[in-house]
Symmetry: C2
Subunit: 388 residues, 2 copies
């Protein structure tokens, strides 16, 4: 009898211990103030908590995370990580585990999630085209070959994805609202579009051109949208730059009534009227800007810079267009992410192995988090925005 | 020995059972797709899950919930419910429990949460003024008497709250960034302001006037902001209406480059240029509009109506300004809430005891949820927006 009881007791104790461990790993918490930091050379992400200003976990085994980007499920529980090696990884932020991974191509550049959160799309260099996956299972549900490197993939309202063909100068709109993709092809985008963005309201899609000056804008409220050339002076200029020197267009930010964007190859940001898409002015900056990010209320724009001036961040006041503050977080500032309502900004300082956290009004440093070669910072509030 | 083992076994079994029960009650889930529905006459809220299109819990004991409104903590775990009776209740959406409640005045009208999520403010009719509470503990941290009924309380960037005095025609800006409130008072708002709104970028604060026609706009980027009268024809007109017939200004919505707002006492919505704040046109509607809500991408505006035409909802196409669809969900449509990226809209049909869920593109009805006299619907994505 004693032996039986002891055996039962042992079994129960083991079961109990498993429960306790699970309970600790799976702390009940809201997911609205979480985020991830890409640890570029480690193939890992740090899971961070904005309210605690701390890392709360780490998930490894995500492959090549150079140029990685991240989108989130509508419940803000799952992160989808797009690696350069064509890997699409699904991470559970609450359990802090890798729950799925597919190597969907040889070489990929970014992805997007549909407005209903059911579909995840990936843009591929090799073999080119776009592949669409079920967000729940990561099963492929659509394969859209384009015969070209595909860039500038974004989600648009109505279960649509929009992307552009580097080789053919075409933008395609894939409507998946009925299951099978219905494709609208728009020609005449220009020579070698290298990146694109969609505005936060999902209305305007703007592609940057590597092969010529200027950009091409589409009004997605038109049917079909007609390409319109804008900002004729914007681009590579007389002396062509390598593609990797062209600014990422995701840096376009709406500040008040103007977009602000990094100039190409110059120590300036440009101001562009949000309605006419015409240039209204420029602000001189410390270096060649990489990202010009507006605080969510648009009242300030924070700018980081290309090597070798990438230890510095400048803050521009939107109404006056003047630089009102400069700070030097440290070597290789790669990315900046605002808390959703803009009271703080998180800055990745790659070569210092650190995330710095600043108050956006007092510019006081509020905290820091150790990270291995941190690059992109992505907060879960992105789940509820178009084109992020 | 056997007895000791048996006692230990019993204790462990009880402990184990408690763990299992807690684990079931506290299902691990993301909080980004949750929401609450106010059950007006039951003093309760339903907790809903957008992805499941279902109610997942109910919390009672929240007092008088006529004219109730709700804000959310940044982690989207906690809902703060403002009742008409001055009650401020804090609900844990994950544990589905009431975790705190203060009866902070005799008669209140709405509240707001600071951009950092640390402070919750309530606007009071009786005794008037604004009280500010610690969001964690619900301890009062500031009492701002105004000597007037206080209306139009909103949060603004920088740990600020903005509100307006019905009796004195003043708007006050309370800056709590340094702990103690610093108050800026702006006179000359007009006669008997009855409600106000702040635009989504936190820049413009607009007050409606009961005592005269027109509205008053403040540009909060100015220091101090100077009141500016706009929309001279907008208001009570020659035949004064009772206050309860004046439209809620929170219904202002940005659709493309225009705000759309319910006309006062007429079967129309007004279109107002978002920059100049001048009227640019009107659209005739089925009844007197109560809420005119833009889909998050601004491409459509959904409108509900005052009694006795309140069984109907109309959908207006933004570019053309034309009504493109009408539907009759049922008796007493009180509120509409879009999913954060606009693919669905949830509609409360009070007298049918139902929430209806529609696809915003096909207008197909996707589901319904039973609720007791449902009024306001609030999704947790509001946590990341200014002025909601």
């Amino acid at each position: 009898m004693t032996r039986i009881l002891a055996a039962v007791l042992l079994a129960l104790t083991i079961g109990f211990t498993v429960w306790v461990n699970n309970a600790l790993a799976e702390t009940l918490r809201g997911s609205g103030d979480l985020g991830v930091v890409v640890e570029r050379t480690a193939g890992a992400i740090l899971i961070v908590d904005q309210s605690e200003r701390a890392a709360i976990g780490r998930v490894t085994g995500l492959g090549d995370l150079s140029h990685a980007s991240v989108v989130f499920s509508p419940d803000q529980r799952y992160a989808f990580v797009f690696g350069r090696d064509g890997g699409l990884s699904k991470v559970d932020l609450l359990k802090q585990t890798l729950v799925g991974r597919v190597l969907q191509s040889g070489n990929a550049i970014g992805g997007a999630i549909s407005d209903d959160g059911r579909l995840v799309a990936v843009s591929n260099y090799e073999p080119g085209g776009v592949r669409v996956f079920d967000a729940e299972t990561l099963d492929m549900v659509a394969d859209i070959p384009t015969g070209s490197k595909t860039i500038g993939l974004v989600d648009a309202p109505g279960r649509q994805f929009v992307f552009t063909l580097w080789d053919h100068g075409e933008t395609w709109i894939a409507d998946l609202s009925k299951g099978t993709p219905e494709i609208t092809k728009i020609e005449g985008i220009g020579e070698n579009p290298y990146d694109a963005l969609i505005t936060a309201d999902g209305r305007r899609y703007i592609a940057g051109l590597f092969g010529e000056d200027g950009l091409t804008a589409l009004d997605l409220w038109q049917s079909p949208p007609a390409p319109r050339r804008i900002l004729a002076g914007y681009g590579r200029g007389e002396a062509p730059l390598p593609v990797y020197k062209m600014p990422h267009l995701e840096g376009w930010a709406l500040a008040g009534e103007r977009f602000v964007l990094p100039a190409v190859g110059r120590h300036e940001v440009l101001w562009v009227d949000a309605r006419s898409l015409e240039e209204t002015g420029r602000t001189k900056t410390h270096g060649q800007p990489v990202f010009a990010v507006a605080r969510p209320d648009g009242r300030q724009v924070w700018v980081n810079f290309a090597h070798p001036l990438n230890d510095t961040v400048q803050v521009i006041d939107t109404p006056s267009g003047e630089v009102i503050h400069s700070l030097k977080p440290g070597p290789a500032v790669l990315h900046m992410e605002f808390t959703p309502r803009g009271h703080e900004v998180w800055v990745s300082v790659r070569d210092a192995g650190r995330i710095d956290i600043y108050d956006t009004r007092s510019f006081e440093k509020l905290g820091e988090i150790a990270a291995e070669t941190p690059s992109g910072i992505f907060f879960t509030a992105r789940a509820h925005r178009t084109g992020l």
